[in-house]
């Protein structure tokens, strides 16, 4: 293509190509912040602390579950850390980042500038959601990598004992741990969707974070009340623990699929609600 034809087309010709610029910029905004890096740092410390605690206590597999297997096989540090981060650390991180996403821009006033740039409201929302999804994956992968490093340094590593009593190679074990990290990051998407929606309602990021975390706590309490068992399958975190089904032989997909369907349902509902809110909202 000659130079003149490129110039000729001007903006129109290249218009479609630059759509990704906003998404890249959004990732820089999320991951460039000290707050995000500190959060990922805390998550990276989880395997380290667990690993050191187990090493110091010298316990040799007395504990039940994945924690008890760490001393025998460092690979289980990944699984145990992911499992232990799931009820609190990971949701907290997702709550902070998602609560910040739109409310943060609104409170800074940059939302105005972004919209007159123009970013386009639907497109900006999509970029925010993609960045949140990438953050969810980054958060679980941080634990995965940290758990891998710490586990391999502190503990012996070898073939992996599955829940069903069969043993698979270390490579397959790592692959399954990776799948667990991915499944857990997908499990966080429903919460991220709620956070994004709440964030679209307010111009105060702290309020958005508090409300999102409050919703998470309420869902947790509802999941713990047996009388509500009829609606349990619909609750966001009811099947969060199903990631462990990946350690069966063969993996049991039913609950994982259900969990992901529930996450998808929450995501669709709250994402479209955030869309309705953002596209109809007066930006002041």
């Amino acid at each position: 293509m000659s130079l003149s034809s490129t110039v000729d087309g001007g903006r129109r010709l290249t218009a479609g190509r630059h759509t990704l610029g906003l998404f890249r910029s959004e990732l820089r905004l999320v991951f460039g912040r000290a707050r995000t890096q500190a959060g990922l740092g805390v998550l990276a410390a989880v395997p380290l602390l667990i690993g050191i605690a187990i090493k110091l206590s010298g316990s040799d597999g007395d504990a039940e579950g994945f924690l008890g297997q760490v001393a025998g096989n460092g690979l289980f540090l990944i699984v145990a850390s992911l499992g232990l981060s799931l009820p609190f650390f990971l949701p907290t991180a997702v709550t902070v980042i998602s609560g910040e996403s739109l409310a943060g821009e609104a409170s800074l006033g940059t939302l105005r500038t972004m919209l007159t740039a123009p970013a386009g409201r639907s497109r900006l929302l999509a970029a925010k959601m993609v960045a949140l999804a990438v953050f969810c994956l980054a958060a679980t992968m941080t634990i995965w990598i940290s758990g891998l490093i710490v586990g391999f340094i502190l503990f012996p590593v070898g073939d992996v004992l599955l829940l069903s009593g069969t043993t698979v190679s270390l490579g397959e074990g790592l692959l399954r741990a990776l799948l667990i990290a991915i499944v857990i990051s997908l499990s966080l998407l429903g919460l991220a969707g709620i956070g994004l929606f709440v964030s679209s309602l307010t111009s105060t990021p702290l309020a958005a974070m508090a409300a999102t975390f409050g919703a998470f706590i309420v869902l947790g309490i509802m999941t713990a009340i047996p009388q509500l068992h009829a609606i349990h399958p619909w609750l966001l975190i009811y099947r969060w623990q199903s990631f462990a089904d990946l350690l069966r032989d063969p993996p049991y997909w039913h609950e994982i699929a259900r969990n992901l369907l529930v996450q998808g349902a929450y995501l669709v509902v709250f994402y479209t609600a955030a869309w309705a809110r953002l596209t109809s909202r007066d930006i002041t």
């Binding site: 579950g65 070898g158 829940l163 069966r248 049991y252 609950e255 669709v268 509902v269 609600a273 869309w275």
Partner: protein, 369 residues
């Protein structure tokens, strides 16, 4: 863009909620639409069931029990019997003729496995990382199923005999068809003729090709939710690979060798909760003497004597809230639920059954002291 036009955007999330709720509520209904199958009588169906013979199967069994039992505070977990009597459970089962079977109960982040390849049997508990091995005695090459059947038997005759026998107490009918685990099945329904039981009906789903029962559902007399449902959520009638039934104790797992009981109880592939065997069940309350069965059919009541009912915190608490009743049989407390009723007399007898409280008291009145 006007204000009304903007508020119309909220129709999108509202629609999303409706679609999600619709798929969630109606999806299973649509998927389980009754298949079209040729008509069949109950007797023919029962006859077919007896001829059912598969060389192997594997699948996932899901059970859910909602007996309406009061939850006893402080007795959560640690008790497999009470655990299996409530809530939902999923197990993977596999079976191959003549004597290979595997059941693994999929617990939360753990798994309990019982498997036998005919020569040895294993029980494995992943949460404790303990395995128990049973070496089975050498056995004759004869497969045990056909052995159990009489030499000259006519399935039709047996079916008729069975129907005649239960006719006074129970209505038996083919009540339609349904899809179970993706297979077309006939529904065989048994309805008690008496109103003294809490059981509303028992429905079996029977596969229309292999004539294997795929699902059993017990409905209470009142309410629309099954009290017990046990059935396949997926099933394959391919013979599973032999390796499915072997167990190699992994490194780091404590293995206990155990003596073989004289009459081996192989885990039944279809009913995993019954197969909890090797662990042994601790009864929830203190043991009394041997239970006696009073009455018959749906009205059967079990009596246990000499049960110490005080000094057990949670049970005391439960009884404190129970209704006090008295009659010619004496005085006691009665506990009722949707399915099960229990009468605890002050002289230490316990009557229980799938019957109404009145039936229970009537049984107590006739019972030997």
């Amino acid at each position: 863009m006007g204000v009304t036009q903007r508020s119309r955007r909220w129709l999108v999330p509202v629609t999303a909620v409706a679609v999600v709720a619709g798929v969630g509520a109606l999806g299973p209904v649509v998927a389980d639409a009754s298949p079209k199958l040729p008509g069949i009588t109950a007797q023919d169906l029962l006859a077919k069931v007896q001829t059912a013979k598969v060389d192997g199967l594997s699948g996932t069994v899901r059970s859910s029990a909602n007996l309406g039992l009061p939850s006893i505070p402080g007795v959560e977990g640690g008790n497999q019997l009470s655990e299996l009597l409530s809530g939902q459970h999923t197990a993977r089962v596999a079976f191959a003729t003549p004597d290979k079977a595997r059941v693994s109960v999929l617990d939360n982040q753990a798994e309990r496995v019982w498997t036998t390849d005919g020569k040895s049997a294993w029980a494995y508990d992943s949460s404790r990382r303990e395995a128990v091995k049973l070496t089975l005695p050498a056995r004759s090459a004869k497969p045990d199923k056909p052995q159990a059947a009489p030499k000259n038997y006519d399935p039709q005759a047996v079916a008729k005999q069975f129907l005649d026998a239960i006719d006074p107490t129970t209505k038996v009918e083919v009540s339609g068809t349904e899809k179970v685990a993706g297979r077309d099945a006939y529904k065989l329904r048994l309805v008690p003729k008496t109103d003294r039981t809490t059981v509303g009906s028992v429905t079996l789903a029977i596969d229309s090709k292999t004539w294997v029962p795929l699902d059993v559902t017990v409905m209470p007399r009142t309410g629309n939710d099954p009290a017990v449902e046990l059935g396949f959520s997926s099933v394959s009638f391919d013979v599973p690979a032999a390796s499915t039934f072997t167990f190699t104790p992994p490194k780091g797992v404590k293995v206990t060798d155990k003596k073989v009981p004289a009459t081996r109880q192989a885990p039944h592939p279809v009913k995993p909760p019954k197969a909890v065997g090797p662990k042994g069940e601790k009864a929830p309350a203190q043991r009394g003497d041997k239970p006696t069965v009073l009455g018959e059919g749906w009205e059967s009541v079990v009596m246990v004597r000499g049960v110490k009912t005080t000094g057990n915190g949670p049970v005391d608490q439960l009884l404190a809230n129970a209704r006090t009743v008295q009659g010619s049989w004496g005085k006691g407390k009665i506990l009722t639920s949707k399915m099960v009723s229990a009468l605890i007399t002050d002289d230490g007898r316990v009557f229980a059954g799938l019957v109404t409280p009145d039936t229970l008291q009537a049984a107590a009145a006739k019972a030997p002291r």
